[in-house]
Symmetry: C2
Amino acid sequence: MATIVQKFGGTSVANAEKIRRAAGRAMKAAQSGKHVVVVASARGQQTDELIADAKELNSNPPKREMDMLLSTGEQQTVSLFAMALDAMGQKAISFTGAQVGMRTDDSFTRARIQSIDAQRIRQWLGEGYIVVVAGFQGVDEKGNITTLGRGGSDTSAVALAAALDADECEIYTDVDGVYSTDPRKFPRAVKLDRISYDEILELASLGAGVMHSRSIEFGKKYDVPIHVRSSMNDNPGTWITHEVPQMEGILVSGATIQKDLAKIGLVNVDNRPGNAAKVFAHLADAKIIINDIIQTEVSKEKANLSFTLAKGDLRDALQALEGVKKEVGCDSVFVRDDIAEVSVVGVGMRSHYGVATTLFRAMANARINIDSITTSEIRISCIVDLADGDKALTAVCEAFELDKPADKRHR
Amino acid sequence: MATIVQKFGGTSVANAEKIRRAAGRAMKAAQSGKHVVVVASARGQQTDELIADAKELNSNPPKREMDMLLSTGEQQTVSLFAMALDAMGQKAISFTGAQVGMRTDDSFTRARIQSIDAQRIRQWLGEGYIVVVAGFQGVDEKGNITTLGRGGSDTSAVALAAALDADECEIYTDVDGVYSTDPRKFPRAVKLDRISYDEILELASLGAGVMHSRSIEFGKKYDVPIHVRSSMNDNPGTWITHEVPQMEGILVSGATIQKDLAKIGLVNVDNRPGNAAKVFAHLADAKIIINDIIQTEVSKEKANLSFTLAKGDLRDALQALEGVKKEVGCDSVFVRDDIAEVSVVGVGMRSHYGVATTLFRAMANARINIDSITTSEIRISCIVDLADGDKALTAVCEAFELDKPADKRHR
């Protein structure tokens, strides 16, 4: 018997009517002969309201207590969801993360799943119940309630699908699927039928907010097919799966733009082994996350070292660098906070030439100056002036025909 | 080191300011050198709101799911309470009922406590923490969340006090303590300094809504001194304790009136062993709770059998009696739904004569006709016309001087 995990986000369960609609979907899947596990988030803005309640009492609330508080949001949704199913005549039972053995470490507010005891869920599925599990939460070794942090319910869903060896994990959301780029920035963007785990991981790390990286990583590790689709209609959405042969024919699957970046350059750093390591160790100590790093030799003795980071971290980063500047022989530090990074992602790049050429030609035709370039195996990113950002994204989308379905493009 | 359990009801934690005030109280107790355990209810009207959410989805929600839903209210309060203590610099940790091993049976929505694992709480108390426990809830053998029903948080608090062998259990509420009668009905009613478990059990069963019977029964069984007091001031409230010698000097501790009663009389029932049992078995099958029973012989062959019950059960009771009327030879059934029951309660009755005389004289002086009388070891109740109810209560309160402190009365 096929098993399906259906995850409903906060907007999809925001009120009684929406819960009923989502429950109807779960029931339909059960009636089609599938074992159904539902994972639900807190209703609508409830998590935000609880955070506000907490802040009213404590500007820096203990993280353990925050998890104790926030986990109630999902618990409410799942009990209400089970009641809705019961009202439709469908057997259903709800569980907290702790009750289904969603064991995590004790990093409160951003815990990592360690194991899941799927036995209890399997037993209820076997008896014809839809099992409704609170997303976003788990329990540590000592029985403390933990939460999984941003995108936690997606992670719960995909992890449960993995533990249950489910045939698919449906992620119901308020968009139709994954688009070739953000339709608010390039209105002709098309919905992708399929994208690989690796591609969407690159896009997620570039800020395209469809799903959180951790849930994708789970899906990749345990080979869980993920179907991102709209809770408002029955249209097929986007499948996130392992790479399949036809994906290689697609040069670029998606494009993104990041505007909240800054760039720091260290000029004339002594070109000695270990100097870069020293710089980034200082930044890591200050808990600053670095995006891309570019090092270029100026001479045998000197190199320029630059990197991008979130604009919000700029001040802390500069402070952290104060301590190491002299040590690595750096002459001066320059900063740019007026940049945007435009990226294209596609597994097809691995086996095709000319992607960089197409990209640079598109930029040149649009008269956009490229500040710097970084690449990964399936990604090319350009830093451009912030003012040129949107124009650059449009140029790139047009050059790679991201307004057309993959099989209708020239290559 | 002394241990104290402090229970704060929903009105005492209804908003951030009230939570802060309650937390201040707990902290003060901790600073005075006590181990402090706080038991808290759901904030304000939250339980009612959650019930409304449930009813919107299911007019008859499964009880297990109701418990799953409602238990979130207390969980939110305790985490917020712990945050408030943390903000004041006081170490604090919150727990759900399940986390402190509040084991119950599986009667969802009205579960009974079976055992408490006090070890975990003791350990945190030993490390200087205030332990904040969600009231009203427990966990069954299989890990399902249960709730204890009406007055559940009081029961949680007294049961925890018993399990921890606490020196006292403070019940913070929106009244100053237990009054000799309802001050809304007899404005000169006085607050009692002390009352015995047995007396308050009689009063509670008569509908005087200070604390639920189950929590008092726990207190009595495990000899937990209970201090009912106001969360708005520091005045001493009322101590509920085992009977102490001075209580015997007090004839009547309290008086109550119940107006939601009806009386059913079966006329000329065959005076044979087992007939009364048959009647009440039929009523029990219909899940009808009987208050007082009066049987009087009419002749050797015939008796009149009457009893009081909640007015709301009248219709079901009459229907249940249809099946048994003929069997017991009853001629006719009469009904009164225009009655009130006025009761006086006091352990002093056990050792004093004349209580009944005083009561009847008071009624006579007020020209109130007494329909019928029932008594227990520490209680006398009169059924009167509903229209005379309030006048009867006033007459009784004046006769037993319930407007004076116990030591200022004539006897």
